[in-house]
């Protein structure tokens, strides 16, 4: 559906350059990503300040509770949020954006007094990225395998079992999965000691490339990791199954069969590669959902990730921290979608060449 430019004398205008930027795949992707980050920043800024029950007022109140006078409390709130509370909203916004460009997310004011939000997040983010990222990859691989299996054994008992099972586990809230696992593994069957279900490391263990650290890391990761895998597996399986089924009907697969290529080669190189293409973009998007869902899992397992930090910040109404986490999570998601776009362009040259092509 691309509109063809009207015929006329070729004069380079600003619009032409804009069009050129727009048709460049990578540049367009970059502009889009930056735009999304900006939208999220702006949205959270105004949501936090413009909604009823003004959090800045609440913050000032709680500071006054701790013994500060009204003026002192206002000054403290302003310095913590890095904004001038007396300035109009637009000036506050510009101020905030300027700080943000310098990587300054403000200071926490309840959770860890006067500690920069950026530092707090930097401590916690690796844990979430590790646990969520590893689990996503595991469930992606298992889901692709089971999905392909179900697609090939179409309408068999295995297929019906797998699809119904996937659809069912996909609908069970991950909170409930986590509680059930703790109940079964930790309390009823006593398979996993309960202290491996609390925290992300045993006390006294220092991060490093030592055997004790890695073993302890895995022990604490096992159960929450299982929950992540369990709650995302069904989606991958169903998506891979339908994607494989539609690929199986394509002409080139029939041709490959007619050429007498070995089955394994058709499954991997012909069907598998093409069928998994659409899933790779959703892998990136789902990272956002799982990081979002991590707030519940980390809360249950006291896993020291960004989700736990957010639930603590919510409990204490620590707005700078909440704002910072939302921003960092969004950036994480956007970076991963960018990665997916890169990967997609590399795996499927068609979308790179046809710049502004329609769908």
């Amino acid at each position: 559906m691309s509109s063809v430019a009207t015929a006329g004398p070729p004069k380079k205008t600003a619009l032409d350059y804009l069009e050129k930027i727009w048709t460049n795949f990578w540049l367009r992707t970059l502009v889009k990503k930056v735009f999304i980050v900006w939208i999220v920043v702006t949205l959270t800024f105004f949501i936090i300040r413009a909604l009823p029950g003004n959090p800045v007022e609440i913050m000032v109140m709680s500071l006054m509770d701790s013994g500060l006078s009204s003026e002192e409390a206002y000054a403290r709130a302003a310095s913590l949020l890095r904004i001038d509370l007396d300035a109009p909203l637009s000036a506050q916004y510009l101020d905030y954006m300027r700080n943000l460009l310098h990587g300054d997310l403000g200071d926490s004011y309840v959770l860890a007094l006067n500690k920069p939000v950026a530092t707090l997040i930097a401590q916690r983010l690796p844990w979430t990225l590790f646990s969520v990222g590893t689990s996503l990859l595991i469930s992606f691989v298992i889901g692709m395998f089971l999905g392909t299996l179900a697609a090939y054994r179409r309408n068999s008992f295995l297929d019906h079992f797998l699809t119904n099972f996937s659809a069912a586990i996909e609908s069970i809230p991950n909170t409930l999965t986590a509680i059930i696992l703790v109940l079964l593994l930790g309390v009823t069957w006593k398979l996993v000691p309960l202290n491996f279900m609390r925290g992300s490391l045993s006390p006294g263990i220092k991060p490093g490339f030592t055997a004790t650290f890695l073993v302890d890391l895995f022990r604490h990761y096992a159960v929450p990791g299982t929950v992540y895998v369990f709650s995302t597996l069904g989606g991958w399986m169903l998506a891979m199954r339908s994607s494989t089924i539609s690929t199986l009907g394509d002409d080139y697969v029939t041709v490959a069969r007619a050429r007498g290529l070995p089955d394994m080669r058709i499954i991997t190189a012909y069907v598998g590669r093409n069928a998994s293409l659409p899933l790779i973009t959703s892998l990136a998007i789902s990272l956002g959902f799982v990081v979002g869902g991590s707030i519940l899992i980390e809360y249950i397992f006291v896993y020291q990730g960004i989700g736990l930090l957010l639930s603590q910040a919510i409990g204490k109404r620590d707005y700078p921290v909440m704002q910072g986490i939302l921003l960092v999570t969004t950036i994480t998601v956007i970076l991963s979608t960018a990665l997916a776009d890169l990967l997609y362009g590399w795996l499927d040259p068609r979308i790179r060449i046809s710049g502004g092509g329609g769908e």
Binding site: V40, G53, P173, T175, L176, G288, F289, L296
Partner: protein, 297 residues
């Protein structure tokens, strides 16, 4: 450019369509079971509270009793009968799920249909917004917003869930409308200049009804999913419902007390059973309405 699909486009009246669906569903055991469980649980949640008085008082002499003849589903941390609590706890969950399902579908259908029907810059703009909304970690945003706006009543909660839940569905509806746009009867209606609202609502949507119903059931499932999480985090405090029941039991460490397991498992079981029934129904409907799934390619 007309596709050679001159199958009978006679639209059956709504009653007979519904009746036919039920007949087809009656032959599909899984779907029928799902529907029956949904109806039973809905009846239990809406009629039950009228018959059975609520448990308002704590009974300190029977705290955390495991299921027995005297206490069919055990008692909770205040000694209240779990079966009575469960009956009274369903209404809010179901209302929120149903409302959020309808609202999500409404927004998604409007966005998707308008976007696909008009095309051009309208399409680019609306799908751009949808894509952005799809990328934002919405559950986190929902949690943050829920702490700021006090979601005191179930209507507000449903509205919020819909506001955060529409984009994925909007994309699906858009591609459906795009494919319907090529059909002969739609092209005919366009030639007759019947106007966009008429074509979208009178010609296209009735032909997508089955798809929309399935989408609505799925939207209900995800509404219950998010709702459970929000309640568990304690950002939507209201009344007694399954979510609040299991969250409270969890907060009281019922998980480590073998006698208290019932107070945790009963509300969780209710949520899971309802979710799975919804999935069973929606998957069976999909099988019924999409014969390609049934007979194979």
């Amino acid at each position: 450019m007309t596709a050679m699909e001159t199958t009978s486009t006679s639209r059956p009246s709504r009653e007979s369509g519904l009746l036919r669906t039920l007949k087809l569903l009656a032959r599909n055991k899984i779907g029928l079971l799902g529907l029956i469980i949904i109806i039973l649980m809905t009846l239990m949640s809406f009629v039950g509270p009228l018959v059975i008085p609520p448990e308002t008082q704590a009974h300190t002499e029977q705290i955390y009793k495991p299921p027995s003849a005297a206490h069919p589903l055990g008692t909770d941390f205040q000694g209240r009968e779990m079966w009575k609590m469960a009956i009274h706890g369903g209404r809010d969950v179901l209302i929120v799920a149903f409302l959020a399902g309808i609202l999500t579908t409404l927004v998604a259908v409007t966005v998707g249909a308008v976007s696909a029907f008009f095309g051009g810059w309208v399409d680019s703009l609306m799908m751009g917004i949808t894509d952005i909304w799809l990328t934002i970690p919405r559950f986190l945003l929902l949690v943050v917003v829920a702490t700021l706006v006090r979601l005191e009543n179930i209507w507000m909660l449903a509205l919020f869930l819909a506001f955060f839940g529409w984009p994925g569905l909007a994309r699906q509806i858009r591609s459906q409308v795009l494919s319907l746009k090529k059909r002969e009867y739609v092209e005919a209606a366009q030639l007759l200049d019947l106007g966009a609202p008429h074509i979208i609502f009178r010609e296209m949507l009735p032909n997508m009804m089955s798809y929309i119903v399935i989408a609505m059931i799925n939207a209900m499932t995800s509404a219950i999913y998010s709702q459970t999480g929000l309640v568990f985090l304690g950002v939507v405090p209201f009344g007694n419902n399954w979510g609040v029941m299991f969250s409270l039991a969890y907060a009281k460490n019922a998980i480590y007390n073998p006698n208290a397991a019932a107070s945790l498992l009963v509300p969780m079981g209710a949520i899971i059973l309802f979710q799975i029934s919804l999935v069973m129904l929606s998957r069976s409907l999909e099988e019924i309405f999409n014969p390609r799934l049934r007979t194979g390619v």
